[in-house]
Symmetry: C3
Subunit: 467 residues, 3 copies
Amino acid sequence: MGQFIADHPDRLLPADPGVRDIARSLYKKVEGLPIISPHGHVDAAVIEQNSPFPDPAALLVTPDHYVTRLIHAGGVPMDQLGLGSQPAGSRQVWRHFCEAWPAFEGTASGFWIRQEFAHVFGLQEEPTADNADRLYDALQAKLSEPGFRPRELFKEFNIEVLATTDDPLDSLDSHAALQADPAFAGRVLPTFRPDQYLNMAHPAWQDNVERLISAAGEGATGYAGYIKALEARRRHFVERGAVSADHGVFTPYTVKLDDGEAERLFELGRSGQAGPRERDAFEAHMLYQMARMSVEDGLVMTIHPGSFRNHHTPTFEAFGADTGHDIPVAVNYTEAIRPLLQDFGTAKDFHLVLFTLDETVFSRELAPLAGFYPAVYLGAPWWFLDAPDAMLRFRSAVTETAGFSRSSGFIDDTRAFCSIPARHDTSRRIEASFLARLVAEHRISEERAQELIMDIVDASPRRVFKL
Amino acid sequence: MGQFIADHPDRLLPADPGVRDIARSLYKKVEGLPIISPHGHVDAAVIEQNSPFPDPAALLVTPDHYVTRLIHAGGVPMDQLGLGSQPAGSRQVWRHFCEAWPAFEGTASGFWIRQEFAHVFGLQEEPTADNADRLYDALQAKLSEPGFRPRELFKEFNIEVLATTDDPLDSLDSHAALQADPAFAGRVLPTFRPDQYLNMAHPAWQDNVERLISAAGEGATGYAGYIKALEARRRHFVERGAVSADHGVFTPYTVKLDDGEAERLFELGRSGQAGPRERDAFEAHMLYQMARMSVEDGLVMTIHPGSFRNHHTPTFEAFGADTGHDIPVAVNYTEAIRPLLQDFGTAKDFHLVLFTLDETVFSRELAPLAGFYPAVYLGAPWWFLDAPDAMLRFRSAVTETAGFSRSSGFIDDTRAFCSIPARHDTSRRIEASFLARLVAEHRISEERAQELIMDIVDASPRRVFKL
Amino acid sequence: MGQFIADHPDRLLPADPGVRDIARSLYKKVEGLPIISPHGHVDAAVIEQNSPFPDPAALLVTPDHYVTRLIHAGGVPMDQLGLGSQPAGSRQVWRHFCEAWPAFEGTASGFWIRQEFAHVFGLQEEPTADNADRLYDALQAKLSEPGFRPRELFKEFNIEVLATTDDPLDSLDSHAALQADPAFAGRVLPTFRPDQYLNMAHPAWQDNVERLISAAGEGATGYAGYIKALEARRRHFVERGAVSADHGVFTPYTVKLDDGEAERLFELGRSGQAGPRERDAFEAHMLYQMARMSVEDGLVMTIHPGSFRNHHTPTFEAFGADTGHDIPVAVNYTEAIRPLLQDFGTAKDFHLVLFTLDETVFSRELAPLAGFYPAVYLGAPWWFLDAPDAMLRFRSAVTETAGFSRSSGFIDDTRAFCSIPARHDTSRRIEASFLARLVAEHRISEERAQELIMDIVDASPRRVFKL
């Protein structure tokens, strides 16, 4: 069989021997640097409570929609993957995963999971239908060891900063507890994520707005109370260490409405009478308002547009959101984001990180925007694009226009805690590969490439996310 | 001059010596496998009647719009290429082709034709203005040999399955004759292609609909008879061995209308009163209906959207359709195909193969869709994208999200019978090249790559097209 | 430190040793060929007057929006880069540039400037904050030498043809003087650029139109005078040696209006009453009219669509146009350009060169259009795409459909006179790199690649631009 490929020291590095040598030496510079994760979806309570992970399926399969989706495409129903009201048991879920493993060949998830097997759990085997039960038992045994609890892994993974994603009304008590705990040395930061308070089309919007105003409106009512409450909750996040506010929108359309019009739309939405045009206008106005607040309170603004959420209604109704059928659409940034940039594109210390699932905007819109506006940073390849070839396409598409200084540094965006080291390691290897090619083509010097990779991996995320 | 490049054993394989060695060994695994061609445009009567091909121009130039278009771009009028009411003679057409040959350097058609020269006709020469007449005579001599008749080439090419593309009212007699002929061992299958019966904008739609209802409506009339007749003709195709129904649409927009509304639009169209909005809605409804019928009768559904047909009206009027000026446009799948997928995306045994001429949907829409919906398969790179670099871009764009298990296998889609081996060989070499890079980068093991290439070339088309 | 990378003989060539050897030999064929620059923004008066360039910042920084934009993105205000009503002094601008130099690593501008340093000015140093003043003095000393005047550099750069871009009412006196000057051997050609006379949305349109009609309407008034005047000015350009007319439009939308409707829109615009729909229709009509005139007078027509001009209004108001915030948008060519191609796509000797900032149209629209219509040529990668990786993506995207014969040859499009040799050299190295890969993959023969690179670099621009 030969070596388990997750153990190969040159994995993901370029095949050409000369370029590989350069890449290897660049990678060595950053291999051991601490992990900075300024955006992701790990739950702070998991770290705070430090409870053992329950079982292999609950750790690696059920909550990770990258994984469940591809098994589902192969014909396994969602309930067999641990979702829904009558989910299959963990061992059964795990068997489905092991049988489906060949479908992950060549995928980003396949690389990460193989890395986790080898480097977190010390397993040198590919999952198969035959070894499923044995692997389950081996992993279960590991998970009950004290070294595999979240806080121990946090340290073992060499994570310096981990940002979570939180509801505006979240108490952030877990964050406070971690910050107050002298036994925990890491930084776990909240992120303000107000989508469901800004987008009238969300079923919970009306209820969210009432709760928001009543909790944080400081006595003000209506639109004024709503704005005041958002500002107050952002302050609360800042006090708990937040560095950014994150916005998931269908389009990055922004607009500046006057207060009267904004209030009119707000009241239409509150009474359930806003049509699609009013809802879109209000959301665009609130994205603009979020930028204004970021300019004022210093939270870095990140925008993730272009995902058609919950594409398959029957799956959404039976199994909820984030179950693998958020499907990208084409994005227009240049015209949509312009009203925001007109007013804030050169605002002092404003940082706006733009992400995309639509690769076509990398060279066409994002690199040109980030290459002019001091506020704009190129978000790292995200979601379906957070994979080796896509990362190389990203660098190729943006570097010639925007260089290296305008990008955000790697973002893992993950719910899968144990995949964090594999994801960051993948990014470091790919950055080394891209730079190595430029060195081999005499486009940058090797000395400069060594400085650049340090900047990309370590200094960029600190600078862009104000860490 | 050195070796004729069409004879080089490493043609199309990667330049890096290490990667090439791996690619060569992967290619060897599949080089000799039989050809499975589940979608194309060869006429079944050509195989059935087994008449000699008339002459080199009629075989290689005039009917192949990939070829005529580029000669036309170089300034040669279409009638000089054998088209229209007063076409030039074959020898003259051939001379134009030979003079234009340098323009094919680097094109997909150039590779295929060079392969055909070397491997079908045993010619080791590049066409030139000087050798045009000599090549014509040499090819003409070959074409009159018994070994160069369609059935002999079918066997020589090692074709196991060849699907044709047929009008819903076609008798399929040639298919029946071939199936009944003990002297013919191949499978030649019809494909149901109803575009001109579904799209009211087609000039023949009204006439087609009347003929359809009268031929197969089983006594029913109006919209009910129309639906009944389509179902009946699909059954006829299934009985004649069809495995798929193919749909060429401008957009993949789908909608489910209730019967009353569908009937209303149908009657508007029938009386010539439907406007563009009604026509589009009806076509979208019928695409949805075709999916419903595929769920019921088991025909694999293939969709080819995004081609602006007959872009240059004067050429269309003088020389007809399929004369090289169908030009792609941007495609939106995520929202357009959603109504169909809501209802049939997880339907048992429903196979929906999605093609595109717009590369941007590979990573943005098709890989995410195929990576969730059990019904959805990624169509192989099609038409302008059925070429080495484009195939590599396809694999790079889709694999990290959807792996290898969700793609259709190679589709040659050709009218040019003698190009079939060259096209499939190109695909096999490129699949080997892509996999070899992943092996060299330690992203998959060489053992697994050997299994994958067998699956891609042989098992995938059988599985996806239910062969 | 090792060798200064701008001096490496293999710079920009592929890393693989075998491919590099082939690329090097192809590059050698064209390395010394004269420069043909059929489209750019150098001012003819600069050549005519042959005044020394004032200082390093005025030569390399302030007028080049590729350079100022990225320094601006790093936080330096535009006035500090020499723009606006109270600009910083040259030495201060130069210091900002040197401090910002690391941000140019990996960018196209970075390559060009490094090449200029090494090959125009004989400097082997990277700019830094520390050596800024010393470099400034060294460059300033060079600029005062007689060998560094524009005409001497023109000869030194081996420029054979240089096209400028000119206002329709420009006298073209500098061009006439150069043509009449026996001491100047180069060809400096004007280019007709009428955007601000065609697009009613331009603030100067009304005034331009009045001046145009009065200067060249030959007594006719209104729309008839306007058309007559445009035709007359084109004739004037042709007499002064112009070979092309260039059109910068937001979209390539074209339409043929009848004279009555065109006149109606024209008068609406003239009286300031045209709305957005009327303005767009009139511009589309005039783009069609420009094609008609090109068919008649033989000027090659070039179209550059898809740039959202002056994206940041505050910067535009303070510092004017062409200050780095023209941002691309998605383009649709297939449907938009169709009315023009219906009537002129096969017109005798009509040459239409289509450019794009939206890479997605390379394979989807431009290669298919240029692969059918004799009039259509693929414009070289332009603006944000005029860089090594983007050029390789262009060739990969278009060649398999359109071959090499349908592209325009390299276009430098530059305002930065001293960057011309570096830009053309970059293009030659990249064409050699692309062809070398095809040779190494046995897709074209080395003999043929040697002919092709000569054709691409030298014969194509002469043929396409009728030089």
